[in-house]
């Protein structure tokens, strides 16, 4: 078994994250001593008190107190959050334990879509025109004066859950009610005041990209820029294919990177991974979202660095622990991931064709994360992809073709 690195990493892993295997494997490869903190207790916590910790992710300051108490017994050298909520908790813990991390205010601004736009607009960043509405407001009062098309967004839900485009007042009223129903779902409704409000912003036309970066001492290093070749024009915004390197002109890529750098500064992000969604059109770059965390789902497997031996998670852990950083240069090959779309509502009975999909040239892996018997729910109500397809090749064009070919070989049996 691997000899642990002498410094302890506190890894904040929500029990519903897809990121577990990638981070745990990265920590093992680096040989770091690892404590996994989750919002629900592990059944091993009593037997392995240094390896597990239960933290109140809903109350970051309380979680920081709990972490400080833990650190008195088991000194902690670094903390990493893996999603929007744990990024805030990680910031609070980093502040309390004087570890590498972000100010809590920055992590909060990155998590809340309205707060983020207020901050970005205040600093002159190119964000869509936006306004905030309460679910209790009379839609007819303001739907007529909105500019169309517009996009309705819950303030915090992940994976574009509840994000809907509206093209006219009637469509807006229907979308507003639909978002309200999503925010009333049992897993959402008790999560805080934000569930009673909806952000409404201009729809920004043009291709969308995802930028993956690492912020070190306030300076953003762009790790990868992903194109999203399927147009995200709505009415719903389920992600599908990401490919990198970007096929946009160099001028556009440079402007998008500069836009993200300005946004990092505007939000006060100082350290750690960021994941940004941007659009590009004749007006230039637009900042759609910027999160103080790394890319979601299993998508990080599309990224390798140096000669292909370093994962994104290893870079994040190294940075958090103050270990020397390896090359932040992405591997030479083009790479891509497809978040497998949910074909229809129903219970997954079987997924056929996985082996055939894996035989498609350039396909590296097909990872199925849905389990037989799982309820599949399409967007905008849904937020869980049934799996991920990965490909690598000489160019993003051939990678995209491979992903689409592999996807066509999958057959969902849904009842």
């Amino acid at each position: 078994m691997l000899r642990p690195y002498t410094r302890r990493l506190l890894l904040l892993l929500p029990t519903t994250t897809y990121r577990t295997a990638a981070f745990v494997e990265a920590a093992r490869r680096l040989g770091v001593e690892l404590t996994v903190a989750s919002e629900r207790p592990s059944t091993f916590e009593g037997a392995q008190p240094a390896a597990f910790l239960t933290l109140d992710f809903a109350a970051p300051e309380r979680a920081a107190e709990q972490a400080a108490e833990f650190a008195r017994r088991h000194p902690v050298a670094g903390v990493v959050g893996v999603d929007d909520d744990t990024a805030v908790v990680a910031a609070a813990i980093a502040g309390r334990l004087e570890l590498t991390g972000n100010p809590v205010a920055a992590a909060l601004a990155a998590r809340d879509k309205h707060m983020q736009r207020v901050e970005l607009a205040r600093h002159g960043a190119p964000v869509p025109r936006f306004e905030l509405h309460g679910l209790g407001e009379d839609v007819t009062d303001f739907a007529a004066r909105l500019r169309y098309p517009c996009v309705l967004k819950p303030l915090r839900l992940a994976a574009s859950r509840g994000v809907i485009r509206a093209d006219d007042p009637a469509g807006f009223a229907a979308a507003f009610q639909r978002v309200g129903r999503i925010l009333a779902q049992p897993d959402v409704v008790g999560c805080g005041d934000w569930t009673s409000r909806v952000l409404v912003e201009d729809f920004i036309p043009g291709p969308e990209v995802a930028l993956e970066g690492l912020v070190v001492a306030g300076r953003l290093h762009v790790l990868a820029l992903f194109d999203k070749p399927d147009p995200l024009d709505g009415p719903f915004f389920e992600e599908s294919i990401y490919t990198t390197p970007s096929r946009l002109p160099q001028r556009a890529q440079a402007a998008l990177g500069a836009c993200a750098r300005d946004a990092v500064v505007a939000l006060g992000i100082r350290e750690g991974p960021v994941h940004a969604e941007l659009r590009w059109n004749e007006s230039g770059p637009w900042l759609i979202e910027l999160a103080a965390r790394s890319i979601g789902g299993r998508c990080s497997a599309a990224l390798r660095f140096g000669a292909g031996e370093t994962s994104l998670e290893e870079i994040i852990i190294r940075h958090a622990l103050g270990m020397p950083l390896p090359s932040l240069e992405r591997e030479r090959q083009a790479s891509g991931v497809m978040m497998i779309p949910v074909p229809t509502t129903g219970v997954l009975r079987e997924l056929r064709g996985v082996a055939a999909a894996r035989t498609v040239p350039l396909i590296e892996d097909v990872v199925i994360t849905a389990h037989p018997g799982q309820m599949l729910l399409p967007w905008p109500e849904g937020w869980r992809y049934p799996g991920f397809i990965f490909a690598r090749g000489e160019t993003p064009e051939v990678v995209e073709v491979a992903l689409r070919t592999a996807h066509r070989r999958l057959e969902f049996i849904i009842e």
Binding site: T20, V24, L34, S42, G296, A307, Y385
Partner: protein, 203 residues
């Protein structure tokens, strides 16, 4: 009569480990683990996998219709996996038994047997009562050369936190209570889990 078609499904666990499910049984009597080409020399299936050029195979574990391959090289499973599939097919097509009977090795077996007893006791008395609280169960498959092979079931099979349970929980307890154990290999087919305790969602 034509030989039945051999179907093989590859299921990478991570960059270094991959499971291959074969449509016909390969080894009915427990688990065989091969940690070097020398150990595999009388077993055509394992020997063929070790012989894949450039793959740097470190370990081959065969149980039932499942082959778990561990590699040290950076070549992706896309490339290596196809060669492993060809090696398995070729070994089965030869008509010879894919694996040689397990050699009598009294000293090593005795050590592994002792370890097996201790690990089984740990699983029965401590590990399984813990994972049972989440509807899970961990089955000890075998111990070979001080490497524990296990399968996760129930709430653990396909659980989003299975890796944490495995590495932070089970492996740590083994290090503490049975320090002679050198490693663990999870041979679970996590994609077939129908009732995982924690299911993942994109964040």
């Amino acid at each position: 009569m034509d030989a039945p078609e051999i179907r093989i499904t590859a299921e990478p666990i991570d960059g270094s480990r991959c499971k291959f499910m074969v449509s016909q049984p390969l080894h009915a009597a427990g688990v065989r683990r091969f940690a070097s080409p020398a150990e595999a020399q009388d077993s055509p299936l394992a020997a063929a996998i070790f012989a894949i050029p450039g793959a740097e195979i470190g370990e081959v574990i065969v149980s039932g219709n499942l082959v778990t391959v561990v590699k040290r090289g950076a070549t992706p499973w896309t490339a290596v996996g196809k060669s492993v599939g060809q090696a398995i097919r070729a070994a089965l097509a030869s008509g010879a038994p894919p694996l040689a009977p397990k050699a009598e090795a009294p000293v090593a077996t005795a050590d592994d047997d002792t370890l097996y007893e201790r690990v089984a006791q740990l699983f029965d008395e401590q590990v399984n009562p813990m994972v049972a609280r989440h509807g899970g169960r961990v089955e000890l498959i075998d111990v070979q050369d001080a490497v524990v092979m296990l399968r996760m079931m129930g709430g653990c099979q396909g659980c989003g936190m299975a890796d944490v349970t495995l590495r932070q929980g089970i492996e740590a307890m083994l290090q503490q209570h049975v320090p002679a154990v050198k490693g663990i290999v999870d041979i679970t087919d996590h994609t077939a889990g129908t009732n995982p305790y924690f299911a993942a969602a994109k964040k």
